[in-house]
């Protein structure tokens, strides 16, 4: 493991650990408003100060990371699974199913999905708890994010279809399910992994984008997305660098993933 990868792994470990044990590390509940101490700078009880409602920024960052860092991979898993199922079957079976899946993929890619999420979010029931709302947001991201990886996976299947090992398996009389799941799927593992790890930061940032519009995770739950919203007011950030902590957390997480998962130079894929 290179030095950069080691650093990236440690940083990711620290971030994940801190967010998982947020309840123990943070001294204040993330939703508690200390209205006499609004927008205060870092102090003994508040390592990152308080926000505009007097809530502990440190506690909100840790809990926000927990939500985003748990749910972004979950949404990525959902979208990659959907993409694998559709891409694999389309590439392998061909014919009308391939045409249907390719058409659906093109349609999904051409949709302004960001606005689609906003629309779907507006159609959902109103009286949902914040915890359900956050699940809905990431669920939508997962359900709508399959098209691009499905296309990549389909292409990979098409290129593997004429490979020698598949030809031999076919000649040996392997059934279609066996060909798909025993022979093809293991060979697609690197592609699937890559698609999964690409989707994680993408969803993390998508939730942040929705948060910027006020449509992501609802109050009082924190997420990296709604914490990043504060940065939209750049004149407020100028004199208060501790407000950049959520941005630093996102950059560390996304950068860490890239360092950790980038193919090693000289290594074949």
């Amino acid at each position: 493991m290179t030095k950069a990868r080691r650093i990236a792994a440690i940083a990711l470990l620290l971030l994940t650990g801190a967010s998982l044990f947020a309840g123990w590390i943070a001294r204040h509940p993330y939703q508690k408003q200390y209205r006499e101490a609004i927008a205060s700078p870092p102090a003994a009880g508040f390592p990152l100060g308080t926000d505009e409602l007097g809530r502990d920024r440190f506690s909100r960052l840790l809990h926000g990371m927990r939500i985003s860092l748990l749910l972004a991979p979950a949404a990525a898993l959902l979208s990659t699974t959907l993409a694998a199922l559709l891409g694999l079957t389309a590439g392998f079976l061909g014919g009308w199913w391939d045409r249907a899946v390719t058409g659906a993929t093109d349609l999904f890619l051409s949709l302004p999905w960001f606005f689609l999420i906003i629309t779907v979010r507006a159609l959902l029931p109103l009286n949902v708890a914040p915890e359900t709302s956050v699940l809905i947001t990431f669920g939508l991201l997962g359900l709508l994010g399959w098209a691009s990886p499905a296309r990549v996976i389909r292409s990979a299947v098409r290129s593997l279809e004429r490979s020698d090992f598949l030809l031999r398996a076919r000649a040996a009389g392997s059934s279609n399910p066996r060909l798909l799941f025993i022979h093809l799927l293991p060979n697609l593992a690197p592609v699937l992994m890559a698609q999964f790890w690409i989707a994680v930061p993408l969803f993390l940032l998508s939730e942040a984008d929705l948060g910027l519009l006020g449509l992501g995770v609802v109050e009082p739950l924190p997420s990296l997305g709604n914490l990043l919203r504060e940065l939209a007011n750049f004149s407020a950030v100028a004199g208060n660098p501790w407000m950049l902590a959520p941005a630093a957390a996102v950059m560390t997480f996304v950068g860490g993933l890239h360092f950790l998962l980038a193919p090693r130079s000289g290594a074949g894929t």
Binding site: Q31, Q33, R35, I38, E52, L53, G54, I118, T119, R121, A122, L126, N127, V128, A129, P130, L213, G214, L215, V218, E219, P220, R229, N233, F234, S235, A236
Partner: protein
């Protein structure tokens, strides 16, 4: 009073001379340049700067003053108003102004094709409005029935030329549109035929031109203001205000409470697709009052608006000098009283949760518009306040079109947090809110007959005040309206935001006002200190 103010302004004007270009920002592209079709703030700004009106509301005194009319008389029965018009005035293209233009203006205004929002108050009730010229310089407008305070509507009705070939582009105001680059800016130049002169006989306006930059980003607007590239800020966020006000010569000022209010209401409509037990909560006066009494309005004003807001008692702000009912005070935080009211309706606290008499947990959603940080913060504070009496509040932020669809058409919501921008001090334009049959009767719109006795009383009082033209009688009637709203709390008024403005020290003669347009309501008298400007360039 007015004469002394103008004399003082004119005397001061000698110190800096005429000319110069005033710059400020519009938040969006004006949607129309037809003065009768204005529905947005940007178009309204252009109308204000270019349009000539018969009467003008002095934004400082909130009283009407003559403009294109030298005087006006309301008939004893309150059904007609006669204007005496100024003589020898000309539109910007040189066509003369007389009573035919006023008749033409009213005809265009009331044409269904114009679809003017300004015409709505004149359409109240049955019958037709009649405009009749009594010679070249006198016009009488007769209404089918009296409309209280209708003379104030003429502050917004820009007079159109009946003879000009360029139609509504011929104006009587101090400026006219000279150049437009869509999405970038709008250039106004002084109207060479503008009629008004200062006390020294100098022709107004003092400024040569006004440049209106289209800038939707408030941060960018503030930055440009700090650099001296724009001279006026018409509304500043409380966050920005405190930061900028700390620097010397910032020119920022807090003018006190505005006419605007922030409020929440519960959906009481019987046709709304919400559970029956929730509708029963929302239609209970005790429940609404309990919620109102658990809200810390002082905290909302201090935390969300950084102290630049006042707790609200009702629809009328203390900024409205003419109509505010000073006997009413905001519902004070009183947890004991709130719990007492809830207990009277069978609610009980159990394990920190409020349950109704049937054992349903009291939980409801509050919709507000996404991306509005102020309202989201208010909602988060309400969430914590309501939790004190065991009410679970779920905040839902929706994009604006979805929100409007829910609160006005599908009625698929439980409670909503929104604000009201009030442009006029008179209560008559609020008929569309208070009448039970009105579509904007927020908590239970478009009722065939009033659902409650107090709504029937609101209908009666609002109709009576609208049909009355004696101010004292109207004030007594509207005071009663405010008292009913305070007592029944169909809308929980939370705060009145303060008017926060910025005026570059180089701009002279600004008379800040809480009424819109707060900084440039006397555009013909505004002037620039050339020395200061050149230093900044």
């Amino acid at each position: 009073m007015k004469r002394s103010l103008l004399t003082a302004l004119a005397a001061l004007s000698l110190a800096w001379g005429q000319g110069g270009e005033l710059r400020f920002c519009l938040r969006a592209e004006p949607k129309t340049f037809h003065p009768h079709k204005v529905v947005d703030e940007a178009s309204d700004t252009v109308r204000y700067l270019t349009g000539g009106v018969l009467l003008r509301v002095n934004r400082k005194t909130q009283k009407l003053e003559p403009e294109l009319a030298t005087g006006w008389r309301i008939a004893a029965d309150g059904r007609s108003i006669t204007f005496d018009l100024r003589k020898d005035l000309f539109f910007s293209d040189g066509t003369p102004f007389d009573s035919a233009d006023v008749v033409h203006t009213m005809a265009v205004l009331l044409e269904p094709e114009t679809a003017s929002p300004l015409a709505e108050p004149f359409r109240f009730g049955s019958g037709r409005l009649n405009t009749r010229a009594g010679g070249r310089h006198s016009v009488t407008i007769t209404l089918p029935h009296p409309i209280g305070g209708f003379e104030r509507l003429f502050d917004q009705i820009a007079i159109l030329s009946s003879r000009s070939a360029i139609k509504e582009k011929a104006v009587l105001g101090p400026f006219l549109i000279s150049e437009r680059k869509p999405g970038a800016y709008l250039q106004l130049m002084r109207n060479p035929h503008y009629w008004k002169k200062d006390s020294h006989g100098r022709r107004l306006p003092y400024l040569d031109s006004i440049r209106l930059d289209i800038q939707s980003n408030r941060d960018a607007e503030l930055l440009r203001y700090q650099r001296g590239q724009v001279h006026l800020l018409t509304s500043v966020d409380a966050d920005h205000f405190d930061r900028l006000a700390a620097s010397p010569h910032s020119g920022l000022a807090d003018l006190g409470p505005s006419l605007d209010s922030e409020f929440l209401w519960f959906n009481q409509a019987p046709q709304a697709p919400i559970p029956a037990h929730k509708r029963a909560w929302f239609t209970s006066r005790n429940f609404r009052r309990a919620v109102s009494e658990i809200i810390r309005r002082d905290d909302l004003a201090r935390v969300v608006f950084r102290g630049h807001a006042q707790p609200a008692a009702g629809p009328c702000s203390p900024a409205n000098k003419l109509w505010f009912n000073s006997k009413l005070k905001p519902h004070a935080f009183d947890k004991k009283s709130a719990l007492h009211r809830l207990a009277a309706d069978g609610f009980r606290l159990q394990n920190g949760m409020l349950l109704d008499r049937h054992g349903n947990q009291v939980e409801f959603s509050l919709v507000t518009n996404a991306g509005n940080r102020t309202r989201e913060r208010m909602a988060a504070m309400l969430q914590q306040d309501l939790a004190e009496i065991g009410i679970k509040l779920n905040i839902v932020t929706l994009d604006f079109p979805s929100l409007i669809e829910r609160i006005s058409r599908t009625l698929h919501y439980e409670a909503s947090l929104l604000g009201f921008v009030n442009v006029d001090v008179d209560p008559t334009p609020q008929m569309n809110v208070w009448l039970s049959s009105a579509s904007q009767h927020a908590w239970n719109p478009s009722q065939k007959t009033p659902a409650t006795a107090w709504e029937a009383e609101l209908d009666r009082l609002m109709r009576q005040q609208a049909a009355e033209w004696d101010f004292k009688k109207r004030k007594a009637l509207y005071d009663k309206v405010q008292e009913i709203v305070w007592e029944q709390a169909p809308i929980l008024y939370l705060v009145h935001k303060n008017v926060l403005i910025g005026v570059n020290p180089a701009v002279r003669n600004v008379v800040p006002s809480v009424l819109r347009p707060q900084t440039f309501w006397n555009p013909e008298f505004l002037a620039l200190d050339g020395a200061r400007i050149s230093q900044r360039r």
